[in-house]
Amino acid sequence: MSFKELKTFDINKSLISITILLFFIMYGAGMLIFGRQGFAKPQVFLNLFINNAGLIVISASMTMVMIIGGIDISVGALVAMDCMILGDLMMNRGWSAWSSMLAVVILGIIYGLTQGFMIAYLKIQPFAVTLAGMFFCRGMAAVISSEVISITNESFVNISQLRISLPLLGTLNKHGKMIYPFIYPSVIVAFAVVVLMFLMLRYTKFGRAVYAIGGNENAAMFMGLNVRRIKLLTYTLDGFLVSVGGILFCMNTMSCFSDQAKGLEMDAIAGTVIGGTLLSGGVGNVFGSLLGCMIRGTAESFISFNGSLSSWWVKITTAVLLSFFIIIQSCMLIFNNRKISC
C-alpha cells in the first residue's frame, strides 16, 4: 500500500466490515451449537427480521439522528404512544386500520416537527428535548388508557399476518412435504426503509448535508448550508420513521399497554453503535445498524434456543458485545488518528 492509500484509510468501511464478520461468526456458532434444534433453518433466520422489523426501522432513523450529531431517546416512549393510539382508535373508537395508521404517522410527523423546532431553532440540547419528549409520550400513553388493549381488528390482523412465502429456500419437513419459509409485510417495509435511507443519506443533497453537519456544524454553516432547516427536517423525518417503526412493532406484538417498549431507545442506540455509527456524529451507515439489530436478535435467539438461560443473559450478552465493539472502534480511531498525524 502506498502512503496515499494509507492516508485515505476509510474508518466507515472498516467498522462495518467488523460488524459483518461478527454477525457471521455469531450465526455460524449458533448453527454449530443449536444445529440439531433447527437453528440452521432459513425460517429461523427470517424470524430475526420478523421479530425485529420495528427495531430495524427505528435504528435506521436513530442512525440518521446520530450522524447529524444528535440523539433521540424518546423513541421507546413514542412507540408506546403510537401503539396505544393505534389500539385505542381501532378497538375503542371503531376507526379502520388504514385510517388509524395514517393518523399515527401524521401525529409522528407533528411530534418530530415540535422536537426539531426546539432543537434546531431554540438551540436546546437534543438529549434534553427528547428527554422531555420521552416523559410526555410515556405519560400520554398512560393517559389514553391504563389497560392492556389487544388488537383484534380484522383488516389489521390480515395485513400483519399476511404470509409471503419465499419459494427459493424450501426445506422438507418430517412428512416429506416441501415447506417454504415466509415473511410478513412488515419485513418488506423495514427493508424498504433501510434501502431508501441508505440511498438518501448517500446520494441526495439532504443526506450529504446531514453528514456534513455531523462532521462539523460550524464548517457546514460556513459552506452555506441551512443548518437549522436541515436539523428540523432530520428530526421531522425521525418522528415519521419512528411512527412507522411503532406500527411495525405493534404488528408484531398485536397488543398495547403504556409500559410497552421500555428501553427500546437503548436497544436502538446499541444496535446503531454496534453497526459502526459514532455518537459524535459524521460517521455512520444504515446497513451497519441493520446488522447491529441482527446481532442483537441472534443473541436473543441463542437464549431462546438454549431454554435454560434466564432473560438477564440477553442484557449481559448485549453489553459484552457492545463493549467489544466500542473498544475496537476506539482502538481503530486512535490507530487512524496516529496514522494521519504521522
Partner: protein, 357 residues
C-alpha cells in the same frame, strides 16, 4: 469587591433553578393549604416538606455525582441507576448470606455496605477507563453498564427479591434511634458538605471546569484530563452506590429490576434544571441539588393532588419543556432584548398602583 461580584454572578446562575422550585412550592401552597405543615408524631417529624427532602435524598446524592461527570466530560453517565441496583444487590446478598429472605444478619452491616461501595467503585473504574483512557463518548461507554448492571444484579440475587428483615439494616432508610428526622436527609447533607468542601479547598473544581470547557487547552496547561475524568466517574459511581444502599434500606430488600429505575433520567434532568449545560464546562452543584429537590417536590405535589402515577410524566414533561426553553440561549437573548423593558414597565405600573393604593 471581587468577592461580591463573584457571589452576585453565582446567584444569577441560581436564579432560574430557585425560581422553578419556588413556583412548584407556590402552586402547592394555593392548591393544598396544609402543604407546609409539619407534625411531630411518635417522636418523628411528618409532613409534605419533610417527605420531599427525605425522598429526594437519593436523587440529590446521585445528581451531585452526575454534575461532576457531566461537567468534566460533556456527556452523561446513564449507568447510575444500574450501579445503584448492583450495589444494593451486593449489600443485601452479603447480609443475607445468599438466601432469599432472612431475619438475622449473616455479616456486619458496615462490611456489607463497604462491599457494595466497592462494587460501585469497580463500576466507576470501568466507566472511567472507557471514558478517560479509551476516549469513548460517555453515553456509549456507560451504556454498557446500563445494559449489563441490572443483569449482573439479578445474577447476584438469583433472579429473586432478597429480603433482609432486620431493624438494624433499616436505619439507613428510616429514622435512627429517637432522631426526629429520617437518616437519608443527614446522609445527603453530609455528601453535599463533603463535596462542597472538597471543591472549595482543593483545586479539583477548577480543574474539572477547565477540562470540561476545553480538554486540549487543559492538557497544554499542564493538567492531565484523563485523571480528572477518571476521578469524576469514580465519584459519580460511588455516590450512585451509596444511593443504592439507601434505596435498598428503605424497602429492606433488593429488587434488582426496580431499584433506581429511571433515576439516571431524573438525575440528568436535575443537572439540566440546575442550569448546567450538558455540553460540559461550568457547573453548579447547588443548582443540581435544587433541581433534584424540584423534581421531588413536583412528584410529591402531584401525588398530593391525587394524580395517578402513570399520568405524572406528562406534567413532568411540560415542566421540563418550559424550564429548558427558558434556559435556551435563543430565548435568553430574546428575553434580554425585549424582556427587560417589558418587565420594567410592568414593575413600574405595579409599584405606582401599589403606591396609589
Amino acid at each position: 469587591m471581587k468577592k461580591l461580584s463573584f457571589s452576585l454572578s453565582l446567584n444569577r446562575e441560581l436564579i432560574l433553578p430557585v425560581f422553578c422550585l419556588l413556583t412548584v412550592l407556590l402552586i402547592n401552597l394555593v392548591k393544598t393549604p396544609d402543604f407546609f405543615d409539619i407534625s411531630l408524631t411518635n417522636g418523628a417529624y411528618y409532613g409534605f416538606i419533610i417527605d420531599i427532602i427525605n425522598r429526594g435524598s437519593e436523587l440529590a446524592i446521585i445528581s451531585v455525582g452526575m454534575t461532576l461527570a457531566v461537567s468534566v466530560s460533556g456527556g452523561v453517565d446513564i449507568s447510575v441507576g444500574a450501579v445503584a441496583a448492583l450495589s444494593a444487590a451486593v449489600i443485601t446478598n452479603i447480609l443475607s448470606g445468599g438466601e432469599a429472605a432472612v431475619n438475622e444478619l449473616h455479616a456486619p452491616i458496615l462490611l456489607a455496605i463497604g462491599a457494595g461501595l466497592f462494587s460501585a467503585l469497580l463500576c466507576g473504574i470501568w466507566n472511567g477507563f472507557l471514558v478517560a483512557r479509551l476516549k469513548i463518548q460517555p453515553m456509549v461507554a456507560t451504556l454498557i453498564l446500563y445494559t449489563a448492571g441490572r443483569g449482573i444484579a439479578q445474577l447476584i440475587c438469583g433472579g429473586q427479591i432478597t429480603y433482609v428483615r432486620v431493624n438494624a439494616y433499616r436505619i439507613l432508610g428510616t429514622n435512627f434511634g429517637n432522631n426526629p428526622l429520617p437518616t437519608p436527609i443527614y446522609i445527603s447533607i453530609a455528601v453535599m458538605i463533603i463535596t462542597g468542601l472538597f471543591l472549595k479547598f482543593t483545586s479539583f473544581g477548577l480543574y474539572a471546569k477547565t477540562v470540561g470547557i476545553n480538554s486540549e487547552a487543559a492538557k497544554l496547561a499542564g493538567l492531565n484530563p484523563g485523571t480528572i475524568k477518571f476521578i469524576a466517574y469514580i465519584v459519580c459511581a460511588m455516590l450512585a452506590g451509596l444511593a443504592g444502599a439507601i434505596y435498598s434500606s428503605r424497602i429492606y430488600s433488593c429488587d434488582a429490576n426496580n431499584i433506581g429505575l429511571n433515576v439516571e433520567v431524573d438525575a440528568i434532568l436535575a443537572v439540566i434544571l440546575g442550569g448546567n449545560q450538558l455540553s460540559g464546562g461550568k457547573f453548579s452543584i447547588a443548582g443540581s441539588v435544587i433541581g433534584a429537590y424540584t423534581i421531588q417536590a413536583l412528584t410529591t405535589s402531584l401525588y398530593a393532588f391525587g394524580m395517578p402515577s402513570a399520568h405524572m410524566p406528562v406534567c413532568k414533561a411540560l415542566v421540563i419543556a418550559a424550564s429548558i426553553s427558558l434556559q435556551s440561549p435563543v430565548v435568553k437573548r430574546l428575553l434580554n432584548k425585549h424582556g427587560k423593558k417589558y418587565f420594567k414597565t410592568v414593575f413600574k405600573t405595579v409599584f405606582k398602583e401599589a403606591a396609589g393604593v
